[in-house]
Assembly symmetry: C2
Homo-oligomer: 359 residues x 2
């Protein structure tokens, strides 16, 4: 079976590494000549709206999926006419727009921070009256890794905020005094079977994920799975979906969903029976899902800007290096380490060993 992937970055690369042992072949559409997944399959080096290459991909592939959610809607619509595409266009339409996304949460009875649609500065002024400060102004689309958002602490911050984010459609979200950030990686098969990995505690710095630690019997696991199930069924979703939550007053408030394999699920390569990458491929290929159970105690640390010396990373026991083969650049995700340990105390000491290579 040949899998077409829109995007050829590290997520495509890790999908191909997971799918090759299933006998799958891969083709990547990515305009970057140095796309890091390209070594693992065919590379269609073209723009994401290149009709000729999209037609080629649709002809070559048995199923098409995405590495990122901001794919042009026309691209998805075109592909869907020619080849099975998972997740579906509606899932991408919702997930790439914070207003649609949060409106869906509200419709499904999933708690979220307060939010309002912002089309102009006047909308923002009004919304701040209702929601209060602090609040976060975010572009409705194209935000990632803390980009496209602005924390508004006091009235002065509000004045030029809409212009500062480019005068594009935004959403204002009430600031939530959260005690933690957790995410749930879930997968739904073509026939509606749904499985979820253990909740993961995430630590961000400067808007970028740094550390994910898989939890054990988290008290909010069932709640998170319930919310994710509502979204997956509503969207008739197929594949992996990541659901980010704030922990607030012992409960969960939905932050956002990502309609794809997700950085907070990278620990599953070694840390779970079947990784998020393999399960995504199983789902879209119509195969039975694999177990989402943990193997040992796991965590993931991102390498941002550069990967430490390979000899140093591989010298740490219980540590598994995932080098993306990308050019090193400040702020760029270029690799990660997965830790898989026999107990939580060892895990904590291993995390410190990896962090010592980063700092």
């Amino acid at each position: 079976m040949k899998i077409g992937i829109i995007g050829g970055g590290q997520l495509g690369r890790m999908l191909a590494l997971a799918g090759t042992p299933l006998g799958q072949q891969f083709a990547f559409l990515d305009p970057a000549s140095d796309a890091c997944a390209a070594a693992l399959g065919e590379h269609l080096c073209a723009a994401y709206d290149d009709r000729e290459q999209l037609r080629q991909l649709a002809e070559d592939a048995d199923v098409v999926t995405f590495e990122f959610e901001s794919v042009p809607a026309e691209t998805v619509a075109f592909l869907e006419q020619h080849v099975p595409v998972f997740p579906n266009a509606e899932s991408l339409r919702i997930a790439r727009d914070r207003w649609f996304e949060k409106s869906m949460f509200r419709e499904l009875g999933i708690p979220t921070p307060e939010f309002a649609d912002i089309q102009c500065q006047a909308d923002l002024n009004n919304a701040v009256q209702n929601i209060g400060l602090p609040a976060v102004l975010k572009t409705r689309t194209l935000g990632y890794d803390g980009k496209g958002q602005k924390l508004l602490r006091q009235p002065e911050d509000v004045i030029d905020a809409f212009a500062e984010l480019g005068s594009v459609p935004c959403i204002l979200e009430g600031f939530v005094p959260f005690t933690g950030e957790v995410s749930l990686v879930a997968v739904r098969s073509r026939d509606g079977d749904t499985r979820c990995y253990p909740l993961v505690h995430n630590t961000h710095e400067q808007g970028i994920l740094r550390l994910s630690v898989a939890s054990t019997e988290h008290p909010l696991q069932a709640q998170a799975e319930n919310y994710a199930g509502r979204v997956l069924d509503k969207l008739n979703y197929v594949g992996v979906l990541a659901f980010e939550f704030f922990e607030v007053d012992g409960g969960l408030k939905a932050n956002e969903i990502a309609p794809r394999v997700h950085n907070s699920g990278h620990w599953t390569i070694e840390g779970a029976e079947c990784s998020q990458f393999e399960n995504h491929l199983r789902a879209i290929a119509g195969l039975p899902l694999g177990s989402t159970a943990k193997v040992g105690e796991s965590a993931m640390l991102n390498f941002i800007g550069e990967v430490p010396a390979v000899a140093k990373v591989t010298a740490i026991p219980d540590c598994h290096l995932h080098h993306y083969g990308k050019e090193f650049k400040p702020g760029r995700k270029v690799g990660h380490a997965t830790l898989r340990c026999t107990d939580a105390a060892v895990l904590q000491s291993r995390i410190a060993e990896v962090q010592a290579l980063i700092d």
Copy 2:
């Protein structure tokens, strides 16, 4: 770092899958246009003694290794002039010739079945007098998967045996009434650090490995590691070496070594902390070795001739499919399944589930 591999079959494929996350790139020299590793790197499609392509490989690669032992000696010698090559030429010279191999075992004090060098039918007649029947006549080189050998049970079998194996240099081995076949996969780094995986019980049918089960605290583990250590140090070996033994009267008799990653080590992909493939690459790349400890209870079943329906293999819990992407042909190794279970009883039932798909 770029790794050159002589051979582009499933071993090269699994090496590339293990090395890509270490940031390694791969080039394969293989005359087969459909070499199944080719999708994961550069493919130099040429004969193994093609000087121009060997020169190209030596220029491109930082280190060169082998997927099989019957590489022409001239190829190894040529490469060693231009690029670091592991394992070294002497290791290949010994391992690809049963006479050299068994003579080395004898020299190192490692028990073996009785054996004799056979250059003609008269040699064979004499050797049968000394060693007795039953005995096994094997070609000194190029034997694998039970090919190139003949069991001699009674005097009539001896008469034309040398001619039947092609009148090439052979070795006669006394038949050993073994109670089991076990193998030890060992790895030695550039600086001499040596680690061994748990002994594996192997079951062959018609000369081809069918089932490998990783042992737990095998009483002969220390003995096997001692023998392997003698060989590794003698050869100043770098990389993974597999050592096959017969279990006889509660002890070990050396059968053969393979100077490469080995089918009886495929279970380590999921079943060990660091797989034989990653450890081979770590060794030849000058990186620290990874842990050879087991993760759970593991076994490996080969798929010979064809891979069962992917949907059926992936439906078995604890089962990990490794499809080699090769054309299906009777008698050909085209894939395997690794089982990784929490206990030995579950493992036995899973083995039966996979076997039910094969039979």
